[in-house]
Symmetry: C2
Subunit: 410 residues, 2 copies
């Protein structure tokens, strides 16, 4: 059994995470939207740390931080992201970046290890302006037109204006170099309660589920809420509510064991207390790692919409906004994480899919990738109460660094 | 049978309405929010017309236009409002103002008629900033603090700023003078389909229903839409949808024959596609002219909320935001409208409650009031497609003017 337990400096890992938590602090969490002042300060903080790990730091034109090594031998890419959802938790993103930094600090100066860990913080994983813009820019699939069109989903501000204000050129300087990396490793909080409720320390991710997203629109007749009798109403909002309930009643019969679905946003038009909504819209999302399951559910959605429309009171349309792309994690990387868990987490690991999207799914299009999870207290995430026990954070760091060593040694 | 048919100038009435339609035109309707430029131009237009009817025009500090007469004899107050809902119809408001203007133009110069019609356009009947601010200011129940706190419900702009921009002092100059008026008469489009579907020309309003408004809030647990299994979710948005459906299923057993209820606005918090809503809120309104019916329904709402909360997944609170005050129309005024309908609408009238609120309910607190309705095509209102046949508009004007004569002669 390798003994690098002493090499991981648990208090340094916790101190780094708490430093990042102090930048843009909100309650016990952070408010660090993409390109906000606290986000930019976090990127600068990381860029200043990278030389301590023998890395040359660069912040590219779209806000990715990349630390590259001139050490000979294989290179493993590792990282996550530094911006947060609005008023959200302190670990979603920074955990994976600080683990990667810690791995680089331990492995890169060590002459007995062939190769190096290179560190990345991908910009806008949380999607304030788009869809994995940083990692997608790195793998070369973001066109200028996409950046031209991107707007902050909260403020509506143009991404070009936001980039220009923080002095970024809006163009990736460091595109992925084919063959440079043996793989990509990312750590993250689980954001669910599987690990905590089973007393486990490490989740070995097998796949990242795909996300299918739909706009479901209801069209009825806008009218006066006082003068229109109940019997003649064509209330688009009520049709929407009945549709939400019908989804919840009918999906379980056709879904897979881990399918999840969510109505995250509802809009009634015009949205006034004295007006019967003539139009209503819901943003609906389904996640699974099996496209065949999604096919069944999408067919059900469309036939439910046709049933409502056929009743003649309101018409319903289902528009797919986003097609999922499930990503498989590399088998050798899963084994490396499991071996490291045996050594440093008493074997308390489990293989599991990731229900959340991560930059690893983008990197998976150009190299082998893997992910490990640490437990989330109460399974809470995307909220400022998100947290993980300090011991679990340190154990995760030990497993992460050990898995990096395994992968460079292969 | 009196013959004043020739005295009502139908083409003048239609021309005036079309002039007002041209100020702030939007499609076939208008966009004339309170204190917008088109609203202020409409007030100025009316103030310029009033001297033609022998009236002294004043625009008071809160935006009411009042035309007062020095003619001896009884005074009848008549009017409605000139601002519109956002992107709404051309007749909701202006119809009643132009009828009042037409009545004043015919009756006031006529030496054979004892007394005069005074004309009012009440500000903000549509509630952009508050709740019948103009007519409530006139009857003396708007405190300065209410104006200080009022904000535009669309833009959030302070009413004080909006008043100051259009040069209004924010204070009613012309308060109601006790005993000055024998009553108040207001005409309005029906905003429902009762008249049209029965082939009737005039609705004789018996009462204006009260509006009870509630904020119903759902509290669950905000969480990640990908990593949180369906079985452990506490989705506040789904709880809200189920509640809306339950209202629709359970209210009919306890409501009155004309009760109406509406969910006009739904908000999910945080409202992002990848986040399970931890909180959700609906604005819910019930209208009836019988407070006992409302008591039963409010009790049902509260017991439904308690049932959901007791199930333990989400908690529900019901908060009453507005308590209804049904207003009875004066019996003698109803008879005057009916007599005028017999003379000029072939008796095609029906007594009916008003499901919508109107300034008449505010004036009813200080004098006898009455209202008459003309048909709405397809029952549509609060939408730019709102319309009434020209013939019905002219018939309504004839009935209105005749009813004014009846009331001054009593």
């Amino acid at each position: 059994m390798p003994d690098n337990r002493s090499l991981v400096d648990g208090s340094r890992v916790l101190a780094d995470l708490n430093t990042l938590r102090g930048i843009g602090a909100h309650n016990a969490g952070v408010h660090k939207p993409t390109f906000s002042a606290p986000h930019m300060r976090s990127l600068a903080w990381l860029a200043e740390r990278l030389p301590e790990a023998g890395l040359t730091a660069d912040i590219d034109g779209i806000g990715n931080v990349l630390g590259t090594s001139s050490k000979p031998g294989p290179k493993l890419l590792a990282g996550s992201h530094l911006e947060s959802q609005n008023f959200a938790g302190w670990l979603d993103g920074p955990l994976g970046v600080v683990y990667a930094l810690e791995a680089a600090r331990i492995i890169n100066p060590d002459p007995t290890i062939n190769g190096a860990v290179e560190v990345a913080a991908w910009c806008d994983e949380e999607g304030h302006f788009g869809h994995f813009l940083g990692s997608r820019s790195y793998v070369g699939v973001v066109a200028e037109a996409e950046i031209d069109a991107a707007r902050d989903r909260t403020s509506g501000r143009a991404m070009r204006d936001a980039l220009s204000d923080v002095g970024l050129a809006g163009r990736a300087r460091a595109k992925a170099e084919p063959g440079r990396h043996v793989g990509y490793l990312e750590a993250h909080i689980e954001q669910g309660e599987t690990l905590e409720s089973s007393g486990l320390g490490i989740g070995v991710v097998t796949s990242i589920v795909g996300i299918w997203q739909y706009r479901i629109s209801f069209s009825g007749e806008q009218n006066h809420a006082g003068t229109t009798r109940m019997a003649v109403r064509r209330d688009a909002g009520l049709a929407l509510a009945r549709f939400c309930v019908a989804i919840d009643d009918r999906f379980p019969a056709l879904c897979g064991p881990r399918t999840v679905w969510t109505t995250g946003r509802i809009t009634l038009d015009p949205g006034a207390p004295s007006i019967i909504p003539g139009r209503a819209e819901m943003l609906f999302q389904v996640r699974d790692d099996d496209p065949a399951v999604i096919d069944r559910l999408e067919n059900l959605l469309r036939s439910m919409a046709a049933e409502v429309t056929a009743q003649g009171r309101c018409s319903v349309t289902v528009e797919r906004l986003r097609t999922g792309a499930p990503a498989l994690m590399d088998g050798a990387i899963q084994q490396a994480i499991e071996a490291a868990s045996s050594a440093f987490a008493g074997g308390r690991s489990v293989r599991m899919p990731s229900g959340a999207g991560h930059d690893a799914q983008i990197l998976a299009t150009i190299m082998p990738v893997g992910m490990l999870f640490v437990p989330s207290i109460g399974g809470i995430s995307h909220h400022w109460t998100e947290n993980t026990e300090d011991d679990d954070i340190v154990t995760g760091a030990q497993v992460f660094v050990e898995a990096c060593r395994h992968l460079l040694a292969q």
